[in-house]
Structure formats: structure tokens, C-alpha cells
Symmetry: C2
DNA sequence: TTGAAAGCGGTACCAT
DNA sequence: ATGGTACCGCTTTCAA
């Protein structure tokens, strides 16, 4: 079984074994100079005893934990997993460990993640909030360690951020649907009072406007950002407005739910109703028909956010605040457009 | 911006502020006695200064980090996300933080996760290995902290474990397919030299045998446990053996790939070919037709593993080694059986 | 009840 | 190049 506490070798064990001081052990083990034979003796003792430095002791002394946290709304949403992957790559390459925190889209949990920085268990935080309340801004301002926000924050708040352009992304989707001949385009959104919810709503309206289509509030519905909610919302909308010929869904999970509802009511996709999602997750290729989806650059956002955080952690001088934005692009697949019923056709437009 | 290092209040700051010793501050803050006015003064000072205990110092002193790690093969596989969710619940309730580690099904990374326990950043590990090599057993034996394995380990190794019964699960699937009238049942497996791969292969063979069907090696193919591999394998198999009337896929990702391949070759599911997956992930309900899948109790395994680990961490006496097993059950949906083309029908059998 | 002080396991400065 | 030692922030004896 595992060794009892107090059994593990420390630098002092090594020091005694090698007949040198703890200071020398520390130096040798950290690769700083030393006479060849000293180095050899220390190395030998360390290897023989299976010495591993205590991370907590090192952290306490060094003032940093070499851990960073990523707090996201929902670990069940593939889009965040895509971010995790890229963030992981970057932070590990920089010698940090990644802590994951699924907040359940609960502002209180997001605030808790921010406040938790004060206990120094994490050197920095990548926060992907779904809402940004005044309380968020206040905590961001007094945060105990560097934070990078994936999402939109007001200009006044001096915090690194990487945002997607959801508005343009939604507009892109609507224009594509209109170009494909759709006229009664429904919106299945997440909560109205979230940042992505509001932005996608705005982009939807803007898209209709640009195309000269009327904006019928009856075509818009709000729910949660998941498949169950999406299915229910789609069912409702279809019952209320049977003539809908397209559904713009605020993310891929909602879209998957919508596809289910459409099937349940005997509609063909895309012949009767076209569907477009957002996030371009793996789900878009797993469902049927393959889902046309707005790619908001989640991988890119993850990578950039991680790079910003690392830069701020490692930099000696304080780098200026960065506000990055990633451009959306539409990835066309079978769930809309005219090429119905075939395998996935990739066509990308900016 | 965030405060400069060395700025954060410590117990000593509080002590000076309240006019007491650091010992008293520690006591009061930990809820151990104190004269009422002392308590009040300390509390007031702590609140005023926004004191938060340094987690690293506490860990060093206390000999534990209050963090546990879950190392899984692939964070992109929904089945592990389901485990994460339950593990998270349990460990957080017990006051631990959860660290996630995606090993990429690389034995070297799994071993690294085991060895990393020696640096004491984590108090324990839940390991979900895809292979169990002699090196694994050796590291398990000398692990620096408690480990719970999700998977099968040899009897001799005294380590807590929770395993699924993949063999029975696979057999269940095959018998179901046979009962539905299928006779040429293909197997799309993951790597042959992995524990789940081997077990599912065995169960597949056993199922055929029990049903009195011949075992045709041409119907078996090995690949990776992901959708891309599943699609390629299915395409291959269908070309090689056009008469296949069912595909048993070693997990849901492979099954999703298979569905894609079937569509690509113009076959109808389940009319022409029935498909069964394993893991009963969210994916099974997201794809079309909804996927019949063997539920190996991933949520249950996650919960149990976390509970075993916490028990071992918190227990004063060393609890005896537990070897738990979770029973599989088949969740029938549209991708096989006779109720094709309708919405998901749940029917559970043990 | 309270304070002084000894660590926990490293790191880094300062002499030597 | 090396050893002695103060210190990171907190917990926990041990005396007073």
C-alpha cells in the first residue's frame, strides 16, 4: 500500500545520505552548479531514496502554486471541453497544472471561483462567465491573482479578455438561412439575461433587418443552453407557429434538441425546416443531419486566453491589458441549405 | 488589478491588528474556543482586512493538500465526463478539490499520474487506465498516496477498485441483437490490447457462442475508441462483408462513427443494419437513430470510486481493500430492434 | 484562555 | 563551491 506520512525522504534525508548540507542538495537538484563529485553523490542519494520534492513546501516558499484554474459554465457542453483541450496544452507546456471548475452557470459559483484566488492555491484564473454582474466587476477589480475572461467585459474594467463575436456570428447564420430561401426563421435562445443569450438575440435581429425581413417576436423563445430545453422550446414554437421554415439555435446542444423535436413532429430537416447551431462542436458531426453551425473559435479563444494568462504570470513587467476578439465563421453542413440528405459537406465562409 | 505578492494579510497581520498572538488568531479562526471579546476582535480584524488563509501553508503544515486527482483516458469522451460529474459531487462534499488529468490513453501518462502523487500536491488518485501493464502494478504497489482504480486489477494487487462487467455487457448486446433476428453481427472494437477492448471482445464471442452462432473473425475489427476510427472501421467492414446485419460497437463514439459510415453507404438503421453502442452516454440520445447502448454504470462507478477514496483518506484506521463491481444493463433505443424510426423508447433489462 | 516557539520542506541569502 | 540559517504562513504543543 501507500507509504505512511512522514516516511517520504526530504532534502534533509538526502543531505545526510550524501554527507552534504541541505543547501547543497537544493542547489544540485535545481541544476545550479556544484563540484562534480558533490553533484554525483547528491544525485545518487536522491535516486536511491526515490526523492521527490514536496510541491506544497515549494509553493509556500516560492509564493506560487504552479496551478491555474479554468472555470466554465458546464463541463457537459462539448464547447468547453474543446477549450479545455487547448488551455491544457498551453498551461502544461508552461509548467502549470490545470484545475477545472464547472460552475453550473451559477453566478455565485463564478464569484466563488474568483474569490478562491485569495487562498493562493491557484496562480491565476481563466473565467468563462455566462453573465457579468456588477458583483463580477467588483471581484475582478480586487482579484488576488491574474484573471483572463473568456467573454465580454466593459471597457472600463482593466482585465485581459478574449471574446467571440456572437452578434456577427448569429447574423451570419440568419443571412445564410435567408440566402437559402428561408423566410420564417425562429430563434431558440438560452436565457435572455446572459451575455451570449443577449448577443445572439441581437445578431438574429440584425440579420433579419439586414435582409429586410420583419421581426416577429412570436418566433423567438428563451430557455436554457441545453438539449432538453432546446427540444421543449422547439416543440412549443412549432406548435405555436407551424409555418416556421428555419430554426436558429443559440448553441449546438439546443440544436440537437430541436432536431429531436422536429423528428417528433414528422418534419424533415432541411426540406421542411432548416437548422443552424452555434459553437461547431463535435456534436454537429455526430447528429443527423449534420449540423450547420457557427464556429465562434472556441479552440482559438481557449488558446489565446491561456497564453494571455501565462504571459501575465511569467512576465516580470506588467504587460498591458489585452482585449482580443476572435472572428466567427459559418460551417455549412446538411441541416440547412439545399444539399439535403447527403453526407457532411464542408464549406466555410468568413 | 490584482495585489502584489506579499501584500495579502496573514495571521500575523490579524494578530497585530487585534492585539493578540498568532496562535490565538489561528484558534479563533478555526473555531476553537477563546474569550468572547478576543474572538470578536480577531473576527473583526479578519473581516476588515479580508483575510483568507493561505492554502499552501496550511497544506504544508497539515500534511495534506485537500486535492484529489481523477486521471482518465480522454476528456473528449462523454462517458468520462459523466464520471467526473459524480466524482466531483462526492469529493467536493468531503471538502476536497478535484484535479482532472486526461492521459490520452497513454500508459506513460498514467504512470506519470501515479508517480506525481509523490510530490504531495494531491492526497489521492482515481485512476481509470485503459491498459494495466506490469509497470502499472509496480507503481500501484509503491504509490505515495491512496489510489482507487476504475477498471480491473489482478486479485493480488491490494488496491481499491470499481469495475464494470464489460464481458457481460457485450454479451447482453449480442444476445439482444440475435433475439431481434440478426445473424451476421460485426464487432467494431477499440485496441485489442486494452482491458475494455479485450473484455468486450470476449463478451462478443461469448454472446455468439451462447446463441449458437459461428464466430467469423472477418466480422471483427480493431481500431481506436473514437468516432473517426469507428467510421473508418465500419466502412472497411461493410466493404469486406456486405452482408453484415448488425454492428456491435465497443463504445458510443465508435457507434456514432459507424452510423455515419452506414449512412454513407446508403444503409438504413436499423432496417438493414442494427447498431449497438456501449456506455450509454448523452451521445446515444443525440444521434439518429437514437442509439441502443449498454450502460456500464459509469455514473455509479464514478460515485463509488470517489466514495472509496474519500473513505480511505478520512478514515483513521486503514479500511480493508474493496473490490466493487457494477452490473451492466442494456438501454434499448431505435438503432436496433423492431421499433425503428420512433423517438427513444427506454426498456431496461438486467 | 493565551502566548512563545517549534516545526512542515523547501529556497536563497550571506558568510566562509 | 559549500554550509548555516532565516523565512514562506499556518498549526499545535507546552507553559504560563
Amino acid at each position: 500500500m501507500h507509504s505512511r506520512p512522514g516516511t517520504a525522504p526530504t532534502i534533509e534525508t538526502i543531505a545526510r545520505h550524501a554527507g552534504v548540507s541541505t543547501a547543497s542538495v537544493s542547489r544540485v537538484l535545481r541544476g545550479l552548479g556544484g563540484r562534480p563529485d558533490t553533484v554525483a553523490r547528491v544525485r545518487a542519494a536522491a535516486t536511491e531514496l526515490g526523492y521527490v520534492p514536496n510541491a506544497m513546501a515549494r509553493s509556500l516558499r516560492g509564493g506560487q502554486s504552479r496551478q491555474v484554474t479554468f472555470a466554465m459554465p458546464d463541463i457537459g457542453n462539448p464547447v468547453y471541453i474543446a477549450m479545455v483541450r487547448r488551455i491544457q496544452q498551453v498551461v502544461r507546456a508552461a509548467g502549470y497544472r490545470l484545475l477545472l471548475h464547472s460552475t453550473g452557470a451559477d453566478p455565485a459559483e463564478e464569484l466563488a471561483a474568483l474569490r478562491a484566488l485569495a487562498d493562493r492555491h491557484s496562480d491565476g484564473l481563466i473565467l468563462c462567465p455566462i453573465r457579468v454582474t456588477p458583483a463580477h466587476l467588483e471581484e475582478l477589480a480586487r482579484s488576488a491573482a491574474p484573471v483572463v475572461v473568456i467573454g465580454s467585459v466593459p471597457e472600463e474594467v482593466p482585465v485581459d479578455s478574449v471574446r467571440a463575436d456572437s452578434v456577427t456570428g448569429a447574423e451570419l447564420a440568419v443571412r445564410h438561412l435567408v440566402a437559402a430561401g428561408r423566410r420564417r426563421i425562429g430563434l431558440l435562445n438560452g436565457p435572455a439575461d446572459t451575455v451570449p443569450g443577449a448577443a445572439r438575440h441581437r445578431g438574429y435581429e440584425r440579420g433579419l433587418e439586414v435582409c429586410g425581413l420583419p421581426h416577429d417576436p412570436a418566433l423567438t423563445s428563451f430557455g436554457r443552453f441545453d438539449a432538453v430545453s432546446g427540444e421543449a422550446a422547439a416543440r412549443d414554437l412549432l406548435a405555436r407557429v407551424p409555418g416556421v421554415d428555419a430554426l436558429f439555435c443559440a448553441n449546438d446542444l439546443i440544436a440537437v434538441g430541436a432536431l429531436r423535436a422536429l423528428r417528433g413532429t414528422g418534419r424533415d430537416v432541411p426540406a421542411d425546416v432548416a437548422v443552424v447551431g452555434v459553437d461547431n462542436t463535435d456534436l454537429a458531426e455526430a447528429c443527423w443531419p449534420p449540423l450547420t453551425s457557427v464556429d465562434l473559435g472556441s479552440q482559438e479563444r481557449g488558446r489565446l486566453a491561456a497564453e494571455l494568462l501565462i504571459a501575465r504570470l511569467d512576465a516580470s513587467g506588467r504587460p498591458p491589458v489585452s482585449r482580443l476578439a476572435v472572428q466567427p465563421r459559418l460551417v455549412v453542413r446538411g441541416s440547412c441549405g439545399s444539399t439535403a440528405g447527403t453526407t457532411a459537406t464542408h464549406k466555410e465562409m468568413s
